[in-house]
């Protein structure tokens, strides 16, 4: 059992938790993730490591409530425990001094983008962070990003905060303005990552994306997470989750993410019903 020792709401439906998991904290590296299972009847879901503290033996996760499991996790409070936390999984993000690096993060990709930005900065890069959200309410981790970036550009889809538009608009402008960029890392919605790849392809900039396919074990045992990269089928949990964005078949990834849409809806409805009953019951 893995105890929750800290919890905060960062934005509506976006929560931050700190969990005691000393072995995970000990070996964690930027870009890696954990697979968690809440309880006996729970499913296994992947969440990225946002921050970790070796000495304290804790890890921090940021998650968005999108379905049954993440909503249920959102009801867990400090002192509650998660049945299983496995990790750190996946290959760490490749970090070196590229020169000028741009990290493009969308929505709840921000926590991953943060750990990568921080590592790129520590490796001596000049780092420009672009973070985008649907609206002002959903903006998270702005201060954290500012701390580890040389430049920070924030966007909202509806223009309710800073500037209006998508992260990809900002990236396009930056590159059109003739800025010399050596490396781009992107994480967020699949559509966004696909667009980032399309933009940087034109400029021939080396670009990596952190992919988020459906996972079960997260250790290379099942192939649920398989993606096509450069025409080859690979398992994202062990070969990734980072891949050369110019080689990834994003359309296929997008389709595969929809595989359980019906079942996810059913599980969510049932969860809400049961919550209602228990609230009324009290």
């Amino acid at each position: 059992m893995f105890e929750i020792v800290g919890k905060r709401e960062l934005a509506p439906n976006i929560k931050w938790i700190k969990v005691k998991a000393p072995l995970v904290a000990r070996n964690a590296k930027p870009g890696q993730f954990v697979v968690i299972r809440l309880h006996e009847k729970g499913e296994r879901i992947p969440l990225t490591l946002f921050r970790w503290d070796k000495d304290e033996g804790t890890i921090e996760l940021v998650f968005q409530e999108v379905g049954k499991t993440t909503y249920e996790l959102g009801t867990y409070e400090v002192g509650d425990a998660i049945a299983d936390v496995v990790g750190p999984l996946g290959r760490p993000t490749h970090i070196e001094n590229f020169g000028t690096a741009v990290v493009v993060s969308g929505g709840v990709g921000a926590p991953i983008g943060y750990s990568v930005t921080k590592a790129l900065k520590e490796a001596g890069n000049y780092v420009i962070s672009i973070i985008g959200f649907r609206n002002k309410q959903l903006v998270i981790l702005e201060d954290e990003f500012r701390e580890v970036s040389d430049e920070l550009l924030v966007t909202t889809d509806d223009g309710s905060y800073v500037r209006k538009g998508f992260t990809t608009d900002v990236l396009s402008e930056l590159l059109e303005s003739g800025r010399n960029v050596d490396y781009v890392f992107t994480v967020g919605p699949v559509i966004m990552m696909k667009k980032v790849a399309d933009i940087t392809r034109k400029y021939g900039i080396k670009t990596y994306a952190s992919l988020n396919p459906i996972m079960v074990d997260g250790t290379g045992m099942c192939g649920a997470c398989r993606v096509t990269v450069g025409g080859q089928v690979v398992f994202a949990c062990v070969a990734g989750p980072d891949f050369d964005a110019h080689q990834v078949d994003f359309d296929e990834l997008l389709k595969r993410l929809a595989m359980y849409r019906e079942e996810e809806r059913l599980a969510m409805e049932r969860f809400l019903q049961m919550r209602q009953v228990s609230v009324v019951g009290r």
Partner: protein, 484 residues
């Protein structure tokens, strides 16, 4: 005693094993073979000729050398605890082996009774003893040697790891098992379905190990959470029983269509995550009308039969050779047939067709004919040009084999592995890294439960010797492992 056995009339016919009716059982995940009652077990036991232990072919053909006539005699004497102890002298997991071993090609293969009538149903007797003991709270007495002060890490909690751990513990060593998944058992919990091997039994046998002092840490992936080097720092020796858990996919167009599973994913969702109880349990699995399973081994049978039980109306096994070359256990092929699984032989998928949303709609098959025998002695399937046809499906399970998971040794260059990814060991199960031993599917590729247990046993002996002598060879001479 022996005079009494000789006088008795030989009962030629096996006592049949009661089973759930096929029409009923395809609606549930309860065990299919119900097992003997006490009377039935004793009657079947009484058919045994009690060959001398030195010559009994049943003992010789058992990979862990269970003293078959010995435990049968104890049964007949009414001493079930004694029977259990005889089995457990060499086999730590009798409730499991009694259910999943291919007895027809092991202990029962040359049973002398076969010359007079039916061979003794050794597997079901072993199972009976284990079940009887469990249900009556009978615990075997195990002798644990005084503490040696040595510590051994076991990686993986499948049959190889569990067996090695039990034996090492009995030798007085401290033993810690590290398991990547959230439940111990390996294929026994995530692969083999509930209706063949109830998880309650695996749990019980794992609990027994804990009761003798074996520690088990789940949720620890060696190679990620801890490295093999970390283990070598903390432990005097390491045993790798990491299995062959990475699925092979067909390299054909459309293999990533929605609704196409590896058998491992399909079975893990159903067995380990209990997707058949969705939405009571949170893990979903796709249900539909027609399922195609590709392959001819135990894994394929398990996937097909699980498919029926989660509600597929028509389930096909698509196999590239003919019936006699299928590697699944005969009993399980028969069960699948009784349950209405349809078999198509001499076909090979060449493509999958998906609709505009990416869902698989059909598998394109090509017909084969059999050519010359290949290196495994089985006749090679050769595609017949122009014979392609489509089979409409809602989902597909690919069960064409597995290879070892490299997550463990990705970053351990000293550990030599073969091209197939199996770990190289010598005849004492020593790897090319000092202090590290390996066995089971990790050195063989996909094999059987009892072979993995046999490896675990022999490796435990070798580890014990190493812990006492500290001897390690200059060079590892690879052991020859018979291809399956």
């Amino acid at each position: 005693m022996s005079g009494e056995f000789k006088r008795r009339e030989v009962k030629k016919v096996r006592v049949p094993v009661p089973e759930q009716d096929p029409h009923v059982r395809i609606r549930n995940f309860n065990e299919v073979a119900l097992g003997y009652s006490l009377e039935q077990a004793l009657e079947e036991a009484s058919r045994c000729l009690q060959c001398h232990v030195k010559v009994a072919p049943c003992i010789k053909n058992c990979p862990v050398l269970v003293n078959v006539p010995g435990f049968i005699r104890k049964m007949l004497e009414g001493d079930m605890k004694g029977a259990l102890e005889v089995i457990m002298e060499t086999n730590s997991l009798p409730g499991i082996t009694g259910r999943v071993c291919p007895q027809e090609e092991q202990c029962e293969m040359n049973c002398i009774m076969g010359k007079l009538g039916d061979k003794i149903n050794i597997g079901k007797l072993e199972r009976f003893v284990a079940d009887y003991a469990r249900e009556h709270g009978i615990r075997p007495e195990v002798r644990i040697a005084p503490p040696t002060g040595k510590r051994v890490a076991v990686v993986g909690s499948g049959p190889a790891g569990l067996t090695a751990a039990a034996d090492l513990r009995k030798m007085g060593h401290e033993v810690v098992i590290f398991e990547a998944l959230h439940e111990p058992g390996g294929v026994l919990v995530y692969g083999i379905p509930e209706f063949r091997l109830p998880k309650e039994i695996v749990r019980y046998e794992v609990e027994f190990l804990k009761s003798i002092g074996v520690k088990i840490y789940t949720d620890v992936v060696i190679g990620k959470t801890l490295s093999l080097y970390d283990l070598l720092e903390e432990f005097d020796a390491v045993f790798l029983g990491t299995g062959a858990g990475t699925p092979n996919f067909l390299n054909v167009p459309g293999v990533n269509c929605l609704g196409i599973y590896s058998a491992n994913e399909f079975l893990t969702r159903i067995n380990l995550m209990k997707a058949y109880l969705f939405p009571d349990y949170d893990t979903p699995v796709k249900r539909g009308r027609r399922l195609a399973v590709i392959g001819g081994g135990n894994t394929a049978m398990d996937a097909a039969r699980s498919g029926l039980r989660i509600g597929y109306e028509e389930v096909y096994i698509l196999y590239r050779r003919t019936r006699e070359f299928m590697t699944a256990r005969i009993e399980e092929i028969a069960h699948a047939e009784e349950e209405g699984v349809k078999f198509m032989f001499l076909v090979n998928p060449v493509a999958f067709k998906c609709d505009e949303n990416g869902w698989v709609r059909a598998v394109t098959l090509i017909r084969n004919e059999l050519g010359e025998p290949d290196e495994t002695g089985r006749r090679r399937p050769i595609p017949i040009p122009g014979s392609e046809f489509d089979l409409e499906v809602d989902a597909v399970v690919i069960a064409i084999g597995q290879r070892p998971n490299r997550i463990l040794y990705q970053e351990v260059p000293e550990l030599e592995v073969t091209r197939q990814g199996t770990i190289v060991v010598d005849d004492k199960y020593r790897t090319t890294l000092r202090g590290v031993f390996a066995g089971g599917d990790a050195i063989r590729g996909e094999a059987t439960v009892v072979l993995a247990m046999g490896d675990g046993k022999k490796a435990a002996l070798a580890i014990d010797e190493y812990l006492r002598t500290g001897e390690w060879p200059e060079r590892i001479v690879p052991m020859k492992i018979a291809a399956d």
